[in-house]
Structures are given as structure tokens and as C-alpha cells.
């Protein structure tokens, strides 16, 4: 991966620094080779693969019931939404009708996961900029969500709650009560987050005008999620290609047009409020009924290829299944949001300072297992 010239400084006063694979700001084992001139960044080159497990290859020998759980290990912060994408792909191929109750539960869980993921991002982002306290504030509320998850799904991080045709078990009797309690608490806490970080003058100086990504570039780099929406590209899958009951709930797609780190930050902050809105609409109206459709014991997708997409906390997750009619997929491709978003990092960081790189990387919300798969 290295050549001698990469390690030694170049002759024209340039300094090549390896950021990572063990570095506090890369949130995992991402390895960036950055070329510096003084403090100014000339080039950023990501090196991947430190946590590559070849999940796509593994899935080729897993059945359609099993492969869903491999996807929890990609973007572990929105494991539930990954599972959702896989379940949707199988349901689309098998044409399984999912009961209403399961759809409601799925969407509520998705939004809870989204809030949990954004909260962790918010804390980590502030930490990238040198403020430690927000991290603990974020975890305080995130813990409430993981408690709710634990009660219903039995797990806190990799929920594995989805099965083709619905959800694995019915919700816990306390679920609705706890979620409502959390929503009430969380509404006041978002304002606290805004007070602590968003309004801070140093924070605004560090993020405004930093890591600029134009709308055309965001499209060309295939960015999705908050990265693209921060540049004014409308790309919310929940709005554009609604799945489950997203077409029945009222919420706004958050768009900011500045394209800088602060815009991406604001998109996520406002998205949390939208998620709260979605949950509020659904939590009291979960219909009675089955939580799982009757499915055959062995699932076989018909021959053909199926592409489903969902909006994870990081952007569009695409699951592309090529089936030969067997019990296992012939080929699976996970189009992960982080991978495309990362490819735009070089464009965004060039010309900035080292500190800007961290601010930009923070707003990309990179989860390395999601990029490496």
C-alpha cells in the first residue's frame, strides 16, 4: 500500500501524513494518506479494507433468512434499517404481503434507530472538534433508546429483529409507554444540544464554509443522505420511493443548500426532529393483528435481480440481489452510503486545514464497517 515516496516528504515542501488506521478522528480503522503543505491539505487518499469481512461473499452461502443478520454487521449504528432493507428485498422477490402491524413497528423502530445513530454522530462530531461533553450528553439519551430496543428485540446494537414477512416477535407491552416517555424527554434535550453546540460561536466558525461540496459534485459523487441533502440534492428514499408506511406519515425532507459542514450538521439535527414527528404519528395507532406474515419454511427467490433501497441514518442503502432461483442468493451487492460519501472526501477537504478535515469527516458520519463491508 505504501511506496517509499509516500512515506518520505516530497521535495516540494510537502509532508505526507498517515491519518489512521488507528486515529481518534477516523472512528474506526479508516486510513487516510494526506499530503500537507504546512497545515494546508493538498490531497486526501483513503485506504480501505482494514475491517473488510467480505460480507457479500458470505451472503452467497447464507439462506434468505440468514443473510439478513449479516447486514447488521455493516453499519452497526443503523443495524435495524439495514435489516429492513434486506427483509424488503426478500419480500419484494417473494411478493410477501407484510401485515400492517409489522409495518408500523418496523417504521417506529427505524426512526428510533435513526435518532440513536444521529445522537452518536452528534457526540462524535463534537468530539472531532475538540468538545468532549456533548458525547456524554448524546449517550445519555441514546441509552434510553437502546433500553427500549433491548426490551423488545433482546439486543441493544445489532437488533436482528426483522424477518422476511414482518418482525420476529411482537413488541413488549411497555413499548408504547416507554417510547412516548422518551419522545417527551427527547424534545427538550434537542434544544439542549442546540444550546450546547449549534449556537456556539467556535463551533460555527469551525464548520461554516468548511468542506464545501457543490450540488453538481454531490450528484456526481453519488452522495446520499445528509451529505447530499446538505448540498441541496433531494434524495430522501423515504419520500422518493416510499416503503412500508412512509407514504402515510407526514414529514418533511430536510434540505440545506449551503453545502458546507454546517449545512450537513443542520440537516441531521433537523432530521432528528422529523423522526420524532414520525414516531408521534405512529405510536398511538399501531393496529392490532399479526406481527408476521405466514411464510414458507424455505424461502426461494425467483430468478432475476432485485434492487431495494432504504434510507439509513447515513443515506441510501441499496441491496442488489441476483437470484438463480436457489435457496441462497447468487450474488449480493450492498450499495453502502458511506462508500460513496467517502469518495467525495478528497474533493471536500482539499485546500482546507487539518482541523477542517476532521470537521468534514465528522459531518460525513463515516462508519467504517459500512464502507468496507
Amino acid at each position: 500500500m505504501y511506496t517509499e515516496t509516500q512515506i518520505i516528504s516530497n521535495s516540494n515542501d510537502e509532508l505526507v501524513v498517515n491519518v489512521g488506521p488507528q486515529h481518534p478522528a477516523t472512528h474506526g480503522v479508516l486510513h487516510l494518506v494526506i499530503t500537507l503543505q504546512g497545515e494546508t491539505i493538498k490531497k486526501v487518499e483513503p485506504h480501505l479494507g482494514y475491517i473488510h469481512r467480505s460480507i457479500e461473499k458470505m451472503c452467497e452461502s447464507l439462506t434468505y433468512r440468514q443473510f439478513i443478520y449479516a447486514s447488521s454487521r455493516m453499519d452497526y449504528l443503523s443495524a435495524h434499517i439495514n435489516n429492513h432493507a434486506c427483509a424488503l428485498a426478500v419480500e419484494k422477490g417473494m411478493q410477501i404481503e407484510v401485515p400492517q402491524r409489522a409495518q408500523y413497528i418496523r417504521v417506529i423502530m427505524d426512526e428510533l434507530t435513526r435518532i440513536a445513530s444521529h445522537e452518536l454522530w452528534w457526540g462524535a462530531m463534537a468530539m472531532d472538534l475538540g468538545a468532549f461533553t456533548p458525547f456524554f450528553y448524546a449517550f445519555r439519551e441514546r441509552e434510553k433508546i437502546t433500553d427500549i430496543m433491548e426490551e423488545t428485540c433482546g439486543a441493544r446494537l445489532t437488533m436482528n429483529y426483522m424477518v422476511p414477512g414482518g418482525v420476529m416477535t411482537d413488541i413488549h407491552p411497555d413499548f408504547q409507554k416507554k417510547v412516548k416517555e422518551f419522545i417527551e424527554l427527547f424534545k427538550s434535550k434537542i434544544d439542549e444540544y442546540d444550546e450546547l453546540v449549534t449556537g456556539n460561536i467556535i463551533f460555527q466558525n469551525r464548520t461554516k464554509g468548511v468542506g464545501y461540496l457543490s450540488k453538481a459534485d454531490a450528484i456526481s459523487y453519488g452522495c446520499t443522505g445528509a451529505v447530499a441533502r446538505g448540498s441541496g440534492v433531494s434524495c430522501d428514499i423515504r419520500k422518493l420511493y416510499p416503503y412500508d408506511i412512509y407514504d402515510k406519515v407526514v414529514f418533511d425532507e430536510i434540505l440545506e443548500t449551503e453545502g458546507d459542514s454546517f449545512a450537513r450538521y443542520m440537516v441531521r439535527m433537523r432530521e432528528m426532529r422529523e423522526s420524532v414527528k414520525i414516531i408521534e404519528q405512529l405510536i398511538d395507532n399501531i393496529p392490532e393483528g399479526e406481527h408476521q406474515a405466514k411464510t414458507k419454511a424455505v424461502l426461494k427467490l425467483p430468478k432475476g435481480d432485485f434492487y431495494t433501497r432504504v434510507e439509513t441514518a447515513r443515506g441510501e442503502l441499496g441491496v442488489y440481489i441476483v437470484s438463480e432461483g436457489a435457496t441462497t442468493p447468487y450474488r449480493i451487492k450492498f450499495r453502502s452510503p458511506g462508500f460513496s460519501n467517502l469518495s467525495a472526501l478528497d474533493q471536500m477537504a482539499r485546500g482546507g486545514k487539518i482541523g477542517d478535515l476532521m470537521a468534514t469527516m465528522g459531518t460525513l458520519d463515516l462508519v467504517i464497517p459500512d464502507i468496507d463491508r
Binding site: K92, D305, Y320, S340
Partner: protein, 150 residues
């Protein structure tokens, strides 16, 4: 913008292209050498397929198929292009100058399938180490240590 219109539009430029409307997306099937002219055509007006949201490869044991999922952000319409690539000499032209995201995705496909992309600016292994031998997502890839046959 209907399937028929796209069909006519593509047929005019590439008479040998075949179409498949059975799946979810409208699919164009072409040979590897035809890909780059078609890509330029699709990216420009009137359809403006400016958003390459998925690029991958499928190993069919006899040949490879490079699958490109494209969307037009203006028309909100997705199509799929499947380019057939020779398995013995996998070579296809890059589109990384048309869609910048392709640079990364093509490196990944090169890394895991061994498909070479002509004129790619920086075609190196992205995920695996430089001295890794073989292409793990090919169907005939064997790894005695790490792979368990079920």
C-alpha cells in the same frame, strides 16, 4: 419519458443493444466495448442520467456482467445497464470522468473481481493488500483457510 422513448433513443445509437423490461428497472444489455459511448449518451441531454448509484459486477462463470444503476435527478427515473465483459480478459472502459463516484466503485470491482478499467486514473487495489493473489468475489475463488464450505 417512457421505456419506449429510451428504447428508441438507445437503439438509434446502438442497434445491437437488447432490452429487458421484466424486472423492476428498465434494463439495457450491451457489450463491454459499447459501454462508454452509451454512458456519454445517457449522461447528457435529454435524459441526464447524472447519478450513478450502484456499480457492481456479477460473475456468471462464463462471463462477467458489469451492472450500472443510473438515476436521473431531473426525471426521477432509474435504469440499469448491464455490460457483458469477457471473463478471460476482463476489460471495460472507465466512466470515472463521467460519474466521479465510479472511480471508487471501479477500484472495488477491480479489487474483488479483477475487471480492469481502461483509462482509470488510479487503478489499484482498494480493499485488499497489494500483494493479495486472486479475486475473492469470483465464483472459482478458493481460500482453504478462511472459507468454509457449507
Amino acid at each position: 419519458m417512457t421505456n419506449e422513448a429510451i428504447k428508441e433513443f438507445v437503439s438509434n445509437a446502438l442497434p445491437s443493444a437488447t432490452f429487458d423490461e421484466s424486472g423492476e428497472f428498465f434494463t439495457i444489455q450491451i457489450e463491454a466495448v459499447q459501454w462508454r459511448p452509451l454512458a456519454r449518451l445517457l449522461h447528457s441531454a435529454p435524459y441526464n442520467f447524472d447519478y450513478l448509484f450502484c456499480l457492481t459486477c456479477v460473475d456468471w462463470k462464463t462471463h462477467f456482467t458489469n451492472v450500472y444503476h443510473l438515476t436521473s435527478t431531473d426525471h426521477r427515473r432509474a435504469i440499469v445497464v448491464k455490460a457483458k465483459v469477457d471473463r478471460n480478459d476482463p476489460l471495460i472502459e472507465t466512466v470515472s470522468d463521467i460519474w466521479k463516484t465510479a472511480e471508487f466503485h471501479e477500484r472495488e470491482v477491480f479489487d474483488l473481481f479483477g475487471v480492469r478499467f481502461k483509462n482509470h486514473p488510479d487503478l489499484r487495489r482498494l480493499i485488499l493488500t497489494d500483494d493479495f493473489e486472486g479475486y475473492p468475489l469470483r465464483k472459482d475463488f478458493e481460500d482453504a483457510v478462511n472459507m468454509i464450505k457449507l
